[in-house]
C-alpha cells in the first residue's frame, strides 16, 4: 500500500514512515546536487543566509536536462546520493527533513537523520523520463551559473519514492 504525504514535512509524518514504504510526495521539493551542496555549505560557513528556508523541506538530488518547449522540465531522475554525504548532516541541522536520491548513505548521514528526525527516500534510478511526468513546475531559485546543478523549486504531484532510510536508521533496498 502506498502512503501519500504533503510537503513541508513534519516530525509526525517523518516518524510514520518506515524503510521499504512506498510513498507518493505532493508539494514542493528543491533540487540540489554536488556543486549546489558545496555552495550551500560555503554560505553557511560565511554566515550568509541560504537561498531558501530549509525547515521541513525536501531536497531532491537531481540535475535535470533542459526543458524542451511546452514542458516544465526535462528528464529528472535521481543522482547517486553518497556524493552529498559530506554536506548532508549540516543541512539537516538547518532544518532540512527529507532527502531524495538513489543508493547508499554514510553512517554519519544515517545518524543525522535519526537526530533530526529526517527521512531519506530513494527514487527509481535511470527513470528520468518517467519521473518528469510527476513534476508540474520548475522555478530557478539560486546559482543559475551552475546550469543543471542550479537550485530549483519543483512542484511535484504524487511523485513516487520508497523509504530507503527511516528516522530510526532502518535501511531498505530491493537490491541489497
Amino acid at each position: 500500500m502506498e502512503k501519500h504525504i504533503q510537503t513541508p514535512l513534519t516530525d509526525e509524518v517523518v516518524r510514520s514512515l518506515r524503510a521499504g514504504d512506498k510513498v507518493r510526495i505532493t508539494g514542493v521539493v528543491y533540487t540540489a546536487r554536488d556543486a549546489a551542496h558545496k555552495r550551500l555549505c560555503e554560505l553557511l560557513g560565511a554566515g550568509e543566509p541560504l537561498p531558501f528556508d530549509m525547515r521541513g523541506q525536501i531536497v531532491y538530488y537531481t540535475g535535470p536536462t533542459p526543458a524542451p518547449p511546452g514542458r516544465p522540465i526535462g528528464s529528472c531522475g535521481p543522482t547517486t546520493s553518497y556524493r552529498m554525504d559530506p554536506y548532508t548532516p549540516r543541512l539537516l541541522a538547518q532544518g532540512l527533513q527529507g532527502l531524495i536520491g538513489k543508493g547508499r548513505r554514510s553512517q554519519a548521514v544515517i545518524d543525522a537523520l535519526k537526530a533530526r528526525p529526517g527521512v531519506y527516500f530513494s527514487a527509481e534510478g535511470g527513470c528520468g523520463a518517467l519521473l518528469a511526468n510527476y513534476v508540474k513546475s520548475s522555478e530557478l531559485v539560486a546559482f543559475p551559473e551552475l546550469g543543471a546543478e542550479a537550485v530549483r523549486r519543483l512542484e511535484v504531484e504524487n511523485f513516487p519514492v520508497e523509504v530507503f532510510c527511516d528516522c530510526e536508521g532502518n535501511i531498505y533496498s530491493p537490491y541489497l
Binding site: 553518497y82 527509481e124 535511470g126 523520463a129 543543471a148 537490491y175
Partner: protein, 254 residues
C-alpha cells in the same frame, strides 16, 4: 589503390544524430532484457514517448570511430566530433555535464569535449558509435592488477566484489563488463567494450564463467560479459565496468 574521401561535416552530422537517438531510445536487444527483468518503472520509462532523454545524465559522450585505412576524412576529426556533440546537446535538449578541469570545475556549457577513441581497420568505411556514459555507473568501475597466482578465483572474487559495491548506487539492473588481460589501460578499455557486447561469448570457457558470475548477480544484473586480450607473464589485469539499465549506444556506418 584509391582512397575514399569523406567530409568531416558528415561525421559531425552522424555524431549529432546518434547522440540524440541514443539518449532517447534503447536498442531492441536491451529493451527485451529489461522486459525479462520486469521492473515496471523501468519498462514504463523506456516506453515513454521519446520526447525527453531516458535519463537526465546524458553522459560524457564516448565516441568510437573505426576508420577504414582506405578512407581520408577531410577536415578535423576531433573538431567534427565535438561539433556533433555540441549540436546534439543544443537541439536535443541534452544536459551539459562536462567541466573543463577536474579540480577547478567550470562547466563547458555544451557537454564538449567528447572522449574520442579511434581504431584503424581494413576497408574504406567509417563506423561511428556514440555511447552516452552516465557517471552513476562510471564511478563504480574498478581495476585490479592481479597476480597470475590469483587466477580464476581471484578474478571471480574481484568481479563479484565490484558488482556488489556498485548497487544500488548505480542504476540496477546493471550489465557487468569485465576486461581481462592486456595491460592497465587495455583492460579498462575492454571492460567498457564488454558492457556493450550483445549475444553470447564465442569462447565456451568464458561463456561458462559469465554464466556462473551472472547466476551470482542476477538479482541486480542483466548480464556479465567478458572480453580478453593476451597479457604479460607477470600479470593478470582485471577491470570491471558497470553499465546502468539505461544501456545507451547508437552506431552507423559512413
Amino acid at each position: 589503390m584509391s582512397v575514399r574521401e569523406i567530409d568531416a561535416a558528415r561525421l559531425a552530422d552522424a555524431v549529432a544524430r546518434l547522440y540524440v537517438s541514443a539518449c532517447l531510445h534503447l536498442s531492441p536487444y536491451v529493451e527485451e532484457k529489461l522486459r525479462d527483468f520486469g521492473n515496471p518503472y523501468i519498462i514504463e520509462n523506456f516506453e515513454t514517448n521519446g520526447a525527453i532523454p531516458l535519463c537526465q545524465d546524458t553522459g560524457m559522450a564516448a565516441v568510437y570511430l573505426e576508420v577504414g585505412q582506405d578512407v581520408h576524412i577531410t577536415g578535423s576529426i576531433p573538431d567534427a566530433v565535438d561539433e556533433g556533440v555540441r549540436r546534439a546537446v543544443r537541439d536535443g535538449y541534452l544536459r551539459a555535464s562536462i567541466v573543463t578541469d577536474p579540480l577547478r570545475r567550470t562547466n563547458t556549457g555544451d557537454n564538449t569535449p567528447a572522449c574520442l577513441y579511434t581504431d584503424i581497420v581494413p576497408g574504406d568505411r567509417v563506423k561511428v558509435t556514440v555511447v552516452p556514459r552516465g557517471f552513476g555507473c562510471e564511478n563504480k568501475a574498478r581495476i585490479a592488477m592481479l597476480a597470475p597466482a590469483d587466477g580464476l578465483e581471484g578474478v571471480k572474487a574481484f568481479v563479484l566484489e565490484t558488482a556488489r559495491l556498485a548497487v544500488p548506487d548505480a542504476c540496477p539492473p546493471v550489465t557487468i563488463g569485465v576486461g581481462l588481460g592486456g595491460n592497465f589501460d587495455r583492460a579498462a578499455y575492454l571492460s567498457k567494450k564488454a558492457v556493450l557486447r550483445q549475444g553470447p561469448n564465442p569462447d565456451p570457457f568464458y561463456g561458462a564463467l559469465e554464466a556462473e558470475l551472472y547466476k551470482a548477480t542476477k538479482k541486480f544484473s542483466l548480464a556479465v560479459n567478458i572480453l580478453t586480450a593476451p597479457t604479460h607473464i607477470a600479470g593478470l589485469p582485471c577491470a570491471v565496468s558497470i553499465g546502468c539499465h539505461s544501456l545507451r549506444c547508437a552506431s552507423e556506418v559512413l
